[in-house]
Amino acid sequence: MPTSDYDPACLPDLLPLYYRRLFPFSQYYRWLSYGGVSKNYFQNREFSFTLKDDIYVRYQSFTTQNELEKEMQKMVPYKVDIGAVYSHRPSQHNAVKSGTFQALEKELVFDIDMTDYDDVRRCCSAADICSKCWTLMIIAIRILDRALREDFGFHHLLWVYSGRRGVHCWVCDDAARKLSVAARSAVAEYLSLVKGGEETLRKVVLSDPIHPFINHSLSVVERYFQQYAIVEQDILCSKESVDKVLSLPIPVKFHNSLCQFWYHIKKYWKYLSCSHNIKKGGQYFDKEIMLQYCYPRLDVNVSKGVNHLLKSPFSVHPKTGRISVPIDLKELNTFDPFEVPTISLICEELERPRADEAEEDDVKDKENEQEAGERRRIRDYKRTSLAKYVKVFDRFLEAMARSWKGEMLKKSGELETSFSVFLTFMSFTYT
């Protein structure tokens, strides 16, 4: 599928169209309201906008979906970030007595950025990515998704492509949103294996016993290691590159195939261990190497803060034009970041006329403005490449809605009320 060439200079023209006719506001609002289980949850949420000329405004908040739409269509933000749910409306934070305005809840988030892997990527560096190093994201998603679900018991995870060089994970469970700073930082550190800055050579240190989490992660890494490191990254191609690998535990001669590589390293290792030259703990050097090359590197600081602002799903990336779309984990192996639609593509797709829509236009004059607008918008994005990603988002919301229903029932506990909840739930499923 040819992607329309994206030119950042077109953003001022494309964005208004995007926010008027394509941005999935009703699903977005449904997400952030979390079923209305907590009062004022949406109203007390902070958004921040980056406007034209890099003007950055914080503490934006909205009372209704309508207000959110109107404001975004008016301000036309280049970037939208989502922050925490506060104790008061963020837009009124100055009127609140100092010290009482506080961030209360927020999704637990993770940001995997490709630049953090620069020391082990040979194909690209900095903001670039390619299909070879994209494998790192696949590995990261598989490892973290499993751990967050199985170890931590979370259920509602939204993985989003950031639009350029990484992925974000939004953990939306009720328990996750209520986590303290200490808890968030503990979760992030549990998930961290690669530690150290420029000055650290051996960034992964394993010792007995190996925690079940590490074993799970290793099985994912091992699946991809040969393909990624040996073939795609070609870490055995030059002496320099191999030396880098081998500066980790021991120096040894290299050979061109994986089997011979490990065979010789192991032989040399046995020799060393017989002569008692190795210090304790070096026995897992092969696992350490694999982990250092492939294990996810996350920025603990992003996950720690309750008030940390993170790029919103369906926001546009100003440099690449790509929409930050949800990733369907069932199709993870075939996800191609270069196939993600750009704003120019979907705006272009919008302009293409479709024959089968002519009939629908005539119907429903009785509908009020907003509903008509929504219907139109829903028809609109369905005509573009954005459609399949909104579907992923819909499925995510449906799964969560079932848990909200449970919450509401718990709160009310009476038959009559549960009936009205049922009705509300039904109206939410309308798309």
Binding site: D54, Y56, T115, D116, Y117, D118, D119, E150, D151, F152, G153, F154, A175, L179, S180, A182, A183, S185, A186, V187, E189, Y190, V194, K195, G196, G197, E198, E199, T200, L201, R202, K203, P209, I210, H211, P212, F213, I214, N215, R297, D299, N301
Partner: protein, 508 residues
């Protein structure tokens, strides 16, 4: 009004019950009256104890023999309760176990008053109290641990025998020191992971579906978590009732002195504002910067960029040595502009954070330069970062190379590496000072990068009486509200206590 040295009578049995265990959660505040002297003595001695806890925590591996020995010695010499049950009435040097526990109880609550006021103070206090508690809890016999749990109503859900069997291998692989037999014989507790954060953070526990599976011998970590939460809440509450306490003229000077004493100088008050020019920085980085800042400066010059962690650590340090906001902006802008950032972008994105550092944005906190403790213990560097403590965070090989580049002698390098191996990072930095300034003894105890700079500058400009000068500047920086003790004798004694406290902190 003045209290004499006499103590009021105790309130019957209630107090006896309170002190029937060596260790306590400090749930109930003391209800008796005490003399002002006792008030001060207790507070000062506990502070000394907590300071020792902090120092041994940084210079020794926790729970190693060295750590245990040092802490034991300090606890005994300061007459705090330790390793003895109430039944053992052996009176040592006139102070009964009961008295020690009472002191423990009262002194804790006094220090709460002094340390509840700011986030930094609270964090420090909680950290040391937790370390102390952990140490004392671990000294208890297993039976006494269980007693403690029961007495304090800590009920944790135990895992069924069948589930234990199913998870046996996983449990053994996740918890240190756990064998198959231990799993079978002893209880394993299941708690929500939010209640076991220390174990989760270090991955020393098995997690499944949001629950942490804790073996019996690890239960201390859970108890600690509980301890921390309670103490944190209590401090917040104390802070709210503090104004009433502070209005008491007898207590205000002591409390204020206590909370300043722990940290010595924090370099939040810049003394040499504007005395450094930007041109001098390159030269100064080689002569008077500690290794971490020299490293950051070099990285900045080479890459024309530093990430957030590096900007904070280095930027605040520069503020501490006397750079003005204008100078700082100019410094950072000129460097970043040489890299990928144009002047406009700098003004929009990075200038804000520089002004933030100087307290001119956001909630206008005037951030203090990081102490060594903070640099070593928090925010470890990752890929692309240059901050942190090189003695702590660099590979020994790379550290060695760097020191060789800086023309440190091979024997000096070995000494430094030995100290690093023993985890004495601040001592290693001090040794670096000694080697680069060509002096036998640094003459000070390093705990802050700005202190390194000040000492170095003093040394290079010939001011060799370093110790005396620091003493004086320390005194003058204290907040000496006049102590309104009607009795001169009492006030003199109190001042001597304070003096001791000062020199105690000077002397390490």
């Amino acid at each position: 009004m003045q209290f004499s040295g006499r103590r009021k009578k105790l309130i019957g049995n209630f107090q006896n019950d309170l002190y029937d265990q060596c260790l306590q959660f400090y749930g109930q505040p003391p209800l008796e009256n005490i003399s002002l002297t006792e008030f001060e003595t207790f507070a000062v001695e506990r502070l000394k104890l907590l300071k020792t806890v902090e120092n041994v925590g940084v210079s020794c591996v926790k729970n190693s023999e060295q750590y245990t020995k040092k802490l034991d010695a300090e606890i005994s010499s300061l007459n705090f309760p330790h390793r003895v049950e109430l039944g053992d009435q052996k009176v040592q040097g006139g102070i009964s176990e009961y008295e020690k526990r009472r002191k423990d109880h009262i002194s804790h609550f006094i220090l709460r008053l002094a340390y509840c006021q700011t986030e930094d103070l609270r964090r420090w206090f909680i950290q040391q109290e937790m370390d102390l508690f952990r140490y004392r809890f671990n000294c208890l016999h297993s039976k006494h641990k269980t007693d403690f749990l029961h007495k304090n109503n800590l009920k944790y859900e135990t895992v069924s025998a069948e589930e234990k069997k199913n998870l046996k291998d996983k449990l053994i692989a996740s918890s240190y020191g756990l064998s198959g037999t231990k799993v079978e014989e002893h209880d394993v507790y299941k708690v929500p992971f939010q209640d076991a954060l220390d174990l989760v953070r270090t991955r020393k526990v098995y997690l499944l579906a949001g629950n942490a599976y804790i073996p019996h011998h690890e239960i201390v970590t859970i108890v600690l978590n509980d301890f921390r939460t309670r103490l944190s809440k209590a401090l917040a509450m104390t802070a709210r009732s503090l104004p009433a306490v502070q209005s008491d003229e007898r207590l205000q000077p002591l409390l204020s002195h206590l909370s300043h004493a722990y940290v010595g100088q924090d370099y939040s008050i810049q003394k040499n504002i504007g005395k450094i020019s930007l041109e001098q920085i390159d030269a100064l980085s080689g002569k008077s910067f500690p290794l971490c800042m020299r490293h950051l400066h070099k990285a900045l010059r080479e890459n024309h960029h530093l990430r957030h962690g590096g900007r904070m650590q280095y930027g605040l340090f520069l503020k501490g040595i006397g750079l003005t906001l204008e100078q700082a902006l100019q410094f950072w802008r000129s460097e970043f502009v040489k890299g990928k950032v144009d002047a406009d972008k700098f003004d929009k994105a990075y200038a804000y954070s520089v002004r933030h550092m100087f307290g001119k944005e956001g909630k206008r906190t005037d951030y203090t330069p990081y102490s060594c403790m903070k640099v070593i213990l928090s925010n470890p560097p990752s890929q692309g970062d240059y901050h942190g403590c090189p003695f702590r965070h660099s590979d020994p090989e790379l550290l060695k190379q760097k020191l060789q580049n800086y023309k440190v002698s091979p024997s000096g390098i070995n000494q430094i590496l030995e100290l690093v191996k023993g985890m004495h990072y601040q001592l290693a930095c001090q040794k670096y000072f000694e080697l680069t300034h060509n002096v036998e003894d640094a003459g000070f105890s390093l705990n802050h990068p700005n202190q390194y700079f000040t000492e170095s500058q003093k040394f290079l400009s010939g001011g060799r009486d370093i110790k005396k000068e620091v003493d004086m500047s320390q005194r003058s920086q204290e907040n000496p509200a006049s102590v309104t003790h009607p009795s001169q004798a009492n006030s003199k004694q109190a001042h001597e206590e304070m003096g001791d406290l000062d020199s105690f902190f000077q002397d390490e």
